[in-house]
Symmetry: C3
């Protein structure tokens, strides 16, 4: 199978667009449960997610199983056409298990052992707990293996949402084992970690400890990077133990997991799954100002997964201990659901059916209020349901059309974090660049560094400090074939061991960019500007003095407005190198709040990207397509009516009305224009 589709361009294999909610029958009375089914069906639900935290219900005492609640609930749901996604309930091990195994509880960086009473309290690297996790998974899988109404599984819940690191003895052992697997002999590790610094040489893998900052001072950055790689691999291994059981028990089930959180390389984690899920709560940020926060999270999922679903989509104001989101305005909850779809989601489950009356999330509002009265959120949810019933088949099979991409790679974020130097990392710059692409209505998205770059026109590499020959070669070959590549400061200055390169930056990419970096420094205050032919662009948090080795100069450094002298004044700041059929642009600074808009405008001169439409910055426009059709999504994140122009002509799917290129969007309104190809 030569030339397969990039992963991020692969469509869903689901046979219908999923719509539903998370549901916790164990928290309600039989009467409540009876009453719920009908209202769910009326709202157009076709799926529920259950059993996420129900281990204590399913196995009230070790080895004694009771599936009656879920058997009955699944059956009742099936009666009204609602299928079930089950969860392995391992995020909340029951008390009989933790009481017998207190040493399985996680330990934090302060050496504090976790306690029973919330969730994610048991270490997923503990061999004993792994065995238990597989035992309950097998018991559930075997029980439900022939249920026609169980269509798929979610593993655990939100790995690392509260807790990534654990410092228990089992983790130390696992880390050593992982290192043995990677390095084979300890002298290889000594070299890879640069233990010649501060006399850290190890004689044996058994001497290695988990790194901790300030115990007593700065840790070894190579050790730290390996530790975070280990964390991600280890949770993948924990999940694999469950996935293998599910697959061997019932091959028809699909398996997913709901992310996204820090310290997991989802590109790798996705390897064991059919697709990823991402939980989306736009209420965590200020709306509409930060509308692109959710878009970015969705794109991160898309980059790792290709097609994906949203197992938890905001269903009301979420609240915990010390905060409560603003209540979504009328229409805003539905808008956010369509935002997820616009960025590639093929299923939406709102969280949650009815607000809990007890427990730590009793103010995390669901579709129904505490008093079980259906109010405006239920009405809006039902509207979504009915619309998706109608247009879901149009969406299914399409993928997001991405022309302008930002490269992403977990290893880069981790490497940056081991030694930020106070400088902006890839994520921080990605946030700015992606937002700017969105407000410019570009067909933009994220692409994982491990994926194929086929089909992209523009690729931005935001300060990827780490570079290896394989990635360098792939980038070079993509540019040779016509791509426009952009990199910002400090790209390709370290190797995968997190050592600074002995080559003059940008090291392995020096030939591609046709430039070397003579000097680098921070700029806590803006002492410099980037001066292009006729424009002055404010610098980011650092400057590089470039020496073109074949590249042409696009901008030089000029003094800031107050005229303070600086060593970089007059030196080269920004270059473009023609390479094969493409070009490589090197930005000797960081993307920042101030300079991202003018820098992208400048890039566009060299990489023509067509906008998807014309509208206010708070109108989001994306496109999903397949061989047969293009769907142009227009989303109004504001509370005012808005006009969108320069759209393709076609059928607006929600209203079933033809659109001639100009659209009026109601407050928080949504439109999807279908163009047949």
């Amino acid at each position: 199978m030569s030339n397969p589709l990039p992963r991020h361009q692969r469509p869903s294999r689901l046979n219908r667009f999923l719509f539903g909610t998370a549901y916790y029958p164990e928290q309600w009375t039989p009467a409540d449960r009876e009453n719920d089914t009908q209202r769910m069906a009326q709202a157009g639900m076709n799926v529920v997610r259950m059993a996420e935290f129900a281990w204590d219900v399913i196995e009230p005492r070790r080895g004694e199983f009771d599936f009656s609640l879920f058997d009955a609930t699944i059956a009742r749901m099936a009666d009204v056409g609602i299928e079930t996604i089950l969860c392995t309930p391992t995020a909340a091990p029951p008390r009989w298990l933790t009481a017998q195994n207190p040493q399985w509880m996680r330990v934090d960086a302060e050496g504090r052992r976790m306690r029973h009473g919330s969730r994610q309290h048991v270490c997923t690297n503990n061999p004993g707990f792994r065995a238990e996790s597989q035992r309950i998974t097998r018991a559930m899988a075997e029980h439900f293996q022939d249920s026609p109404h169980v269509i798929g599984w979610q593993t655990d819940n939100e790995f690392f949402c509260h807790f990534s690191e654990c410092y228990c003895d089992a983790c130390t052992s696992s880390f050593r084992q992982w290192l043995r697997g990677k390095y084979s002999d300890v002298n290889t590790l000594n070299r890879a970690w640069g233990t010649a610094f501060w006399a850290q040489t190890y004689d044996d893998f058994e001497q290695i400890e988990l790194p901790l900052r300030n115990r007593p001072t700065h840790p070894n950055p190579s050790q730290e990077l390996d530790y975070y790689r280990f964390l991600s691999d280890a949770i993948g291994e924990f999940q694999r133990g469950q996935v293998e059981i599910l697959r061997e028990t019932q091959p028809n089930w699909w398996v997913t997991h709901n992310g996204l959180f820090e310290h997991i390389d989802y590109w790798k984690l996705r390897g064991d799954l059919d697709f990823l899920g991402v939980d989306i709560y736009p209420g965590f940020v200020e709306q509409p100002r930060d509308f692109s926060w959710a878009s970015l999270k969705l794109q991160q999922c898309r980059a790792a997964s290709g097609s994906f679903i949203v197992p938890e989509q905001q269903g009301g104001a979420g609240g915990q201990l010390l905060y409560l989101h603003q209540t979504p305005a009328p229409g805003q909850m539905r808008l956010w659901a369509y935002q997820a779809i616009a960025h590639g989601a093929d299923g939406i489950l709102h969280f949650r059916w009815r607000t809990a009356r007890f427990g730590a999330e009793m103010y995390w509002n669901g579709i129904l209020d505490h008093d079980n009265v259906a109010r405006r959120r239920y009405a809006e949810f039902s509207q979504e349901g009915r619309e998706l019933e109608r247009i879901g088949t149009k969406i299914l099979g399409t993928v997001v059309d991405v022309r302008a991409a930002i490269l992403t790679q977990t290893d880069q974020d981790e490497a940056h974090a081991t030694m930020t130097l106070g400088l902006p990392g890839p994520q921080e710059q990605t946030k700015l660049i992606f937002r700017q692409m969105l407000v410019s209505h570009w067909p933009a998205g994220l692409v994982d560094a491990a994926d194929s770059f086929a089909g992209l026109k523009l690729l931005v590499v935001p300060s990827f400090v780490v570079m290896d020959e394989e990635l360098a070669a792939r980038l070079q070959s993509w540019v040779e074939n016509g791509g426009i590549l952009v990199a910002s400061a400090r790209t390709a200055t370290r190797n995968r061991d997190n050592h600074v390169s002995a080559q003059t930056p940008p090291g392995l990419l020096g030939e591609l960019f046709g430039v070397t970096v003579e000097e680098f420094g921070t700029l806590p205050t803006p002492l410099l500007n980037l001066k292009t032919g006729d424009e002055t662009i404010q610098v980011g948090a650092g400057y590089e003095i470039l020496r073109p080795r074949g590249a042409q100069t696009l901008a030089t450094w000029s003094p800031a407005s107050d005229g303070s002298p600086h060593a970089a004044t007059g030196e080269v700041a920004l270059t473009l190198n023609r390479f094969g059929q493409g070009a490589a642009i090197y930005v000797g600074s960081y993307f920042s709040e101030q300079n991202t808009a003018p820098l992208l405008a400048l890039l566009r001169e060299h990489a023509p990207i067509e906008s998807l439409g014309e509208a206010d910055e708070l109108i989001e426009i994306t496109c999903r397509h397949c061989l047969e059709r293009r769907l142009t999504f227009a989303l109004n994140h504001t509370g005012q009516p808005q006009q969108v122009r320069a759209l393709p002509a076609g059928l607006e799917l929600i209203s079933s009305q033809m659109c001639g290129g100009v659209l009026e969007l109601a407050p928080y309104g949504v439109a999807i224009i279908e163009t047949r190809l």
Copy 2:
């Protein structure tokens, strides 16, 4: 005994107004002590408090007692007419005790065991320490049982002033025991705690641990609320062990304790005492701006205790490790003493006689300076002493006249704290409401929810989230009989298990207020206003959309000045429901810095409260009364002369001059007008 007085209206049973200081003879030489007695008498002192931290002096080695220092000091004091209050010295257990029992030391939330070297280092729930606490109490009680000069006792010192929680094993056992007492069987507890959430079901009381936040994440809010109730009950039990010994040894002694600190339900703690004490240091806040801070603390004591004393009244700038209060201006220390009396104190002991020359409080200034020279603070103290000698009998027997009350209940504060959601709780709103009542010169005060509401005209319930049928019934009956009740947002939305109610808010009070709440949300920025007939009042931190069910509308929601749309616009915000002979007003928002003054003004239209006088906002006016007389206190918190008008005519007690309704107060001046009834 039908219709007893509300506790907060019960007068003192002391036979004279107490005036004196805390005194630590163990810190001074015999010559110092000799010299002190005379100067104390000259200043008008009639009482000293001693032995607060003298366990090591009284029992230098286990079982070897030496009372000589205190015998001699009590006798010397008695010679000049000064009586003694003794303390159980259990806040500072001696080193021989802690050295032998290192496992009795408290353990904090981080698992750190406390050390000898300061105070409050031993766990009061440890059975071994409780036995020791009772042993030293008995030894002291028996030794002093026939001393005619010892009139009363203070238990320990400032329970929970540094430390409320302790996480030692003894605390875990005690908590389990307390839960057994409350729930009898563990399934009752499972239901009460909602353990169906996050699979927390317990099989046995022995499986329960003390709750801790972020171990690894949000705790169970029902467990947390029970834990704080336990903390309060447990310290009460510790105290009871001492009180019972004191009472059985010498029934003539009265017993008190000096508060007030967090996580103690003083209404309950007071049950074992004759009256409470409250330590008052107005230097902790900015004066005169925050003058009402001390008034509120005094009212909290009054609400729990009825008559009370001030065992520690600021005697100079207090200072510790990292701060030093501003030095009180001439007259200000005396003003603060009268402020305590104006809010119900029947005894004032300044802290402390002479400033310590060593130890952690060596900059906590007393009446005399380090160099033992009597300067302006001694002069002012003596003035107080001479005045109170003269007018103390007039004060004794009177209680504070309260017409406008704010309801208070420890359980409400604790329930709010388990899940604040970032919203203002009862205490935060009480602070604003009480201050506004004071600057309006209303006859205002706090009343505990467990007390009788007899005699009150207006009662404000500031967001009491927890409601039970008993309290609901008492509130309803009080309104029926003519009371004007006011409640703010989220009142009566949870039950005593800290579960959100299944009833539409305000749940058990729905009929009384004649209203239901359709929607609730936060308002981080003021998107809304309360619009009454002709006035616009800024909203607090949240909004509720009300549906009148019999109540009349007093205000609706209107858009904020910038005109942003909001779902609540035009909806009902404030209602009044006639009920029996009274009325119940529901405020669909929180009392805030901006809206408290206009809201109280609006309330006054419905609950006519007469002011005690007319004056600047920084002039405090209160009234104490009994059957025979009314005493109107006027306190000038400013450094400028001030006029007070519309006072009752009568004799000004300090100057012994008649007042015809208008008074001129000197800077920091005080007046007390007596009106005979």
Copy 3:
């Protein structure tokens, strides 16, 4: 030897001015090392510092030594005229040692045991580690004892740079031992610590624990002060164990250590050394605004050491985990080297030769970049080297000329810190006073309280709370002989046990200043001004009301501009007392940002100090002198050309041109004018 020179005036005994870098051959390949030697020699280096963290290289397994790398490197250096300073490598004990002795790792205040993986992880009070430290020191000393190219040693590295306190059991034992040595019997300790406060009496030294704040509350301030004295003595003892071995093995070696960090009394630590070193990184503060930060650090070293060297002088932007200094401007790195010399340094080693490519300091830039290319920093370094080759002999033998001094004493800083009360301590005031003296171009410096005051004209004692009879007598005698002494608020209010004095302040200095303090208070907002004849000076953070007892009044308190009343208004604030041939000036407040300049101007009227020249505030002027010559240093900290006037006429050493009293300094320029005496 009567009347020896004050320590701070003693010249160097080095036979040449040292110039070089720190060098870590273990981090580089043989080819790198080969190539380095020549470039070092070309830059004018005459010394390298090596083996600082090389224990694992020298002793890869316990008892197996391998000196080959250092033998070869020392020899190769010697071939080009570069001598070697070696380090005891005890700041980074190897893994085989820590793996076998996990209980030797330090323990922090939270009870967390440190881990292998960075440095300074082993407790220097552990007897086992002390033995190991002496074993490796002896092994190295014996191996290199006859090497003619090893000229001296640095002990360990930067004691207490990450970590001062340790709470392991060995530390507890050591503290008890230290207390036994100081107090002999525990009752003496009880009195000295004021254990009568809060019942803290100890029966035995074994009952004493290391003090910790908030366990559960404020510690005993006398115990805390003793603890910090112990910390300093203990690290001195650790060092002495190494120094004795070095001295007995090869008496020709000199021994130094590189400071300066908190909680070490360098005056005492210097007792075992030939001279001190101080590591200087001006990039830690904002330049040029805070240029005096480095000057102050240099003066602190000078005050403790007399002649000293800079083992680590900034060699490029330093960066760690979360920060990266600004890159020094062209010329600025050299300027900072001369700044060190101007304040008394007799040797400069830049840190470091080439930037590391791995490890926690891989962004701590050295003279050469990661890619081993010699750029502008190497050129500037070579310029320094060539200049110092030429003028180093002129510098050697001179000492800094100090007329206006600020008294310094570690005990004062520690005593202040035990109980700051939020008030400015000696260091905070010293920083302001010294900066003001520098910008006024006074011949200024720091002098340790243990040193002789001979030769000084003006001595400022910034709020030395602690006073003893010996220091009081020496100050009195110095004033009697003509000195002008200045003290600020709270001076001499405690004794060496950290008890507040029973005498009226300023206690032991009352006669000398001819004044007593009637009242003291804080001033969080400036309610007062100091009013001299015709000038109004803003007050510092507190006020004292003075009662002259022979002194004349220089200023009184006047109300602040808003006219608020205050008890101190009209009272005496500033006094001058003629005493013998000198005078003692008492400032009843603290030196502050606002008042330091006018206060120093006022002091100068009474203590005529001649400026060293006239120039902008950011031009630093100092003088070094000996019997034969005066060297006037002028340093331009700005990026603009600057003129300096009123200089002595003489030869400018760097340019070899005569200067007639006026100089033009280039941006970041330096000049040294030699005047023959």
